[in-house]
């Protein structure tokens, strides 16, 4: 017994295990990473999740389709609107309802605003993860403007629940177009400030270039989507590959990089904000007239079958898979959440780097924990 203890102590492969989380400033939620260290170097990372597992998939089996929408808000709460849209599109597809153009355009504008505010929040937190605390306030300052627009039109700021099967809950606010245009004008001026503060910084370059490189093959194999996957050259933008809502009528570029390191994941998101602004500008002046919702039956029953709808959230591909047995409740609902797959790659890319790099890589993956746990 004693002998064994001594060998353990002298073993040079002995690991220094620290628990990052569930309460830790840079895990952005109740994610627990069991990190084995050797000195400062990370030997392996084991994510322990489930701290806020709320059983959304189980709950969905006993509630109706319009009710599911309000649960999806709580998954990826930063891109809540896009989650809602996924469920709505799935229901509409199953019922084969034609959605008027007005709804499609408004949904697209709202989705892109959601994407911008999500990336702003990510930028703010990423800067903070790297120790640049000022970024946080710059990011939140600008995000507030979008949340105000949401508040005016949807009533909610973050968890909007603006979609419903067959359209929208209510029409847009009369000020909506003007405020969105003002915001785009403002943000086009302010976005270069983000670059001045962080993108051009030498320390930031040193901290992020060549850190946590993810190859294209690994990105595909691990199912890493969104800006994280696209920074590795994996063309996975659902808006391009399977256009939904009004994405087939707008011009935009899919941001692709080949390097796949932390720096390019950063650039991918910054560039995506520019593209989102482009999309909004193309649509905001051309919102067609028409109803804001299609008349639906009071109780929505999906015909028997399996339905899969993909959308592009700010973090990657969200899939809503519904198996219906013809009832008003779904038989089985599965949410293919982007963060769940993105988390699985963390051990693979952060191994061998330092703790500080782990924080940077974790920040660049942009994880939202409730979306992982569901």
């Amino acid at each position: 017994m004693e002998e064994k203890e001594i060998t353990n102590l002298t073993d040079e492969h002995q690991e220094y295990v620290i628990n990052m989380g569930p309460q830790h400033p840079s895990t952005h939620g109740v994610l627990r990473l069991k990190v084995s260290l050797k000195g400062e170097i990370v030997k392996s990372i084991e994510p322990h999740i489930g701290y806020i597992h709320s059983g959304i998939e189980k709950m969905c089996e006993s509630i109706t389709y319009p009710q599911i929408i309000h649960l999806t808000d709580r998954m990826d709460y930063i891109s809540a609107h896009i989650n809602n849209e996924a469920v709505c599109l799935n229901v509409e597809k199953a019922l084969e309802i034609d959605i008027p153009d007005r709804i499609k355009v408004i949904r697209t504008i709202m989705s892109e605003l959601t994407r911008i505010q999500s990336h702003q929040l990510w930028w703010a937190c990423f800067g903070m993860d790297l120790g640049g605390l000022t970024c946080f306030f710059y990011g939140l300052r600008d995000r507030e403007k979008i949340l105000d627009i949401f508040e005016e039109t949807c009533g909610g700021r973050m968890i909007v629940s603006y979609n419903c099967p067959g359209g929208l809950m209510y029409d847009i606010h009369p000020n909506f177009q003007k405020r969105v245009k003002d915001f785009i004008k403002y943000f086009r001026k302010i976005l270069p400030e983000y670059d001045q503060l962080l993108t051009g910084n030498v320390i930031f370059h040193e901290r992020s270039k060549g850190i946590g490189t993810l190859t294209k093959e690994d990105a595909i194999s691990f199912g890493v989507t969104g800006p994280t996957g696209r920074a590795s050259g994996f063309s996975c933008d659902v808006r391009k590959h399977e256009p939904y809502s009004a994405y087939d009528r707008v011009q935009f570029k899919e941001i692709l990089f080949d390097e796949g390191d932390t720096f390019h994941r950063y650039l991918a998101r910054i560039d995506e904000m520019w593209e989102s602004m482009k999309i909004i500008e193309q649509l905001i002046d051309n919102i067609p007239e028409g109803p804001f919702a299609v008349k639906m039956k009071p109780i929505i029953k999906l015909p028997e079958g399996e339905y899969y709808q993909r959308v592009e959230t700010a973090r990657g591909e969200l899939g809503v898979f519904v198996i219906s047995d013809g009832n008003k409740n779904p038989y089985r609902v599965k949410f293919r959440s982007p963060n769940f797959s993105n988390l699985s790659v963390l051990n693979h890319i952060a191994k061998g780097f330092k703790i500080a790099d782990l924080v940077a890589i974790g920040g660049s993956l942009d994880l939202i924990i409730p979306d992982i746990d569901r």
Partner: protein, 151 residues
Amino acid sequence: MDKIQLESFLKTIASGVEIKEGKQYLEVTVPSSSLHQLAKSLKEKEESKFDFLFCLTGVDYGTELGVIYHLRSTSYDHTVVLKTRTADRENPILDSVCDIWETAEFHEREVFDLLGIKFKNHPDLRRLFLDNSWGFPLRKDYVDDINIVTK
């Protein structure tokens, strides 16, 4: 490849599969014994190249338990759905596809956690969200009088 080409291609590489044209995607029902082999050839064959497993769902069909794999090829942009079932509810065992698509490692852990389906050759099959004392909540016969309100 479109659905028809894909269907004929599938018939050439696999036997004993049931191919159905679903509303969206081609749905292939595979016996659990030949799942791993079919999955491997779907990924490796130059014509299909299904390299992206974008969704892995465990389903309780009442009498049987099943797993649904949504596959896409990033080079050809075509999609196929693989389905497999097992009738053993006490000790359901399926083949793991971790060695083919690495994303399956987490997804299979999730399925194991919520439905209790075990995966053979999975490198690290532990519960993911819940602790070991829980039942398998996504099974239809799961009863939790305290936490679940059923109408």
